[in-house]
């Protein structure tokens, strides 16, 4: 008969939580997030949101693409369209949460203990968690993951605050450079993460289809851009997979 691992004592759990924060600061994502959110904070300032609104949006939404959509399109698009774009950009959380939570589940873990890890799951936390969690005993994973997530989120909140304050104080040229950081950073992280034809093609097509759709003035630009470019990329991917299967 195997003995179920018990909850670690509070001081051990706290130590593990701190280890998680240290792992966050040592992660390359910590610095990428700061840079990304400096641009986002500057964007929020230019569009007219408040400092605390920006900070709260990072705590609550905790998804840079969704926040970029929210901040940059609210003034020009219908609310319904913004909500739709935000939700489409966050679908990725479903498989990510479904994949990471089972690594923390064990007998005796209550569902409410998993709520914080669920909310903290974002691409950066997930990638580091999938790498680091299997290396430690199962009863320590929740505390570690919470530390990792809160550490990375802190980097994002600090970056956002710095960008917001700088945008208000810098001369126009430097604030322009700060605002340009968001498109540059997203372009780079998309280029680096797109290991498949599907991702790369969808991104390239979206860059081209977006302005074309916008010029037609039919409304719901973002939705149409996503649907048209994304579906074409998906179909090309399907065709290629089918051909590869036939060839082998």
């Amino acid at each position: 008969m195997s003995v179920e691992p018990a909850d670690p004592p509070a001081h051990v759990a706290f130590q593990v939580f701190l280890d998680g924060i240290v792992a966050a600061i040592r992660s390359v994502f910590f610095y990428v997030l700061i840079g990304n959110y400096v641009g986002l904070g500057a964007l929020a300032h230019e569009v007219g949101f408040s400092f605390w609104w920006m900070a709260l949006s990072t705590f609550l939404i905790w998804a840079a693409p969704a926040q970029v959509i929210l901040v940059s399109t609210l003034s020009t698009a219908a609310l319904f369209e913004v909500a739709l774009a935000v939700t489409l950009s966050s679908v990725r959380f479903l498989p990510m949460v479904a994949a990471i939570l089972p690594t923390m589940r064990r007998a005796g873990v209550r569902q409410r203990d998993l709520i914080l890890p669920m909310h903290l799951t974002a691409i950066s936390v997930w990638v580091e968690g999938m790498r680091l969690l299997p290396l430690m005993p199962v009863e320590r994973r929740i505390a570690f993951y919470n530390g990792l997530g809160i550490g990375l989120m802190s980097g994002a909140v600090i970056g956002g605050a710095v960008g917001f304050v700088l945008a208000a104080k810098l001369p126009p040229l430097l604030s322009a450079a700060l605002l340009f950081f968001t498109p540059m950073a997203i372009l780079m992280s998309s280029a680096r993460n797109s290991r498949t034809l599907l991702d790369g093609l969808a991104f390239a097509l979206g860059l081209v289809v977006g302005p074309v759709v916008a010029a037609q003035k039919i409304g719901l630009d973002l939705m149409w851009t996503g649907l048209i470019a994304g579906t074409i990329a998906y179909l090309v991917h399907r065709l290629r997979e089918a051909r590869r299967k036939r060839a082998s």
Binding site: M118, A176, M188, A202, A214
Partner: protein
């Protein structure tokens, strides 16, 4: 309703809920979801294209101070940054530095 309260309401209803719902579904559905399933792949394509569309919009119809930089400079900086990324060991850092450098340089020369 005050404008400030309205902004927070929008943050919850248009930002937080539509995004968070996928995390809830992830915890509810739990195991047994294939990341390579066809529906997930299609949604990933749509979401990626949508983000690219947002990038195009920020560069073409920029907010605030970025609008003061001429359009050809913005486009050249984006393309140059991407080229820098490809040529310099596929480094995202190099790409951002090249792109930002071109933007500032171009703005100084052409505006």
């Amino acid at each position: 309703m005050s404008a400030e309260l309205h902004a927070y309401l929008i943050l919850i209803v248009i930002g937080f809920l539509p995004s968070e719902v996928w995390r809830w579904l992830g915890i509810a559905l739990g195991r047994g979801l294939d990341e390579q399933s066809e529906v997930i792949l299609w949604v990933r394509g749509v979401a990626t294209a949508l983000i690219a569309g947002v990038i195009a919009r920020i560069v073409l119809i920029p907010p605030g101070a970025l609008a003061g930089v001429p359009l050809p400079v913005r486009l050249a900086a984006l393309a140059g940054g991407f080229l820098g990324f490809l040529l310099i060991r596929r480094s995202a850092f190099a790409g951002v530095v090249v792109g930002e450098g071109l933007l500032v340089l171009g703005a100084l020369v052409f505006s």
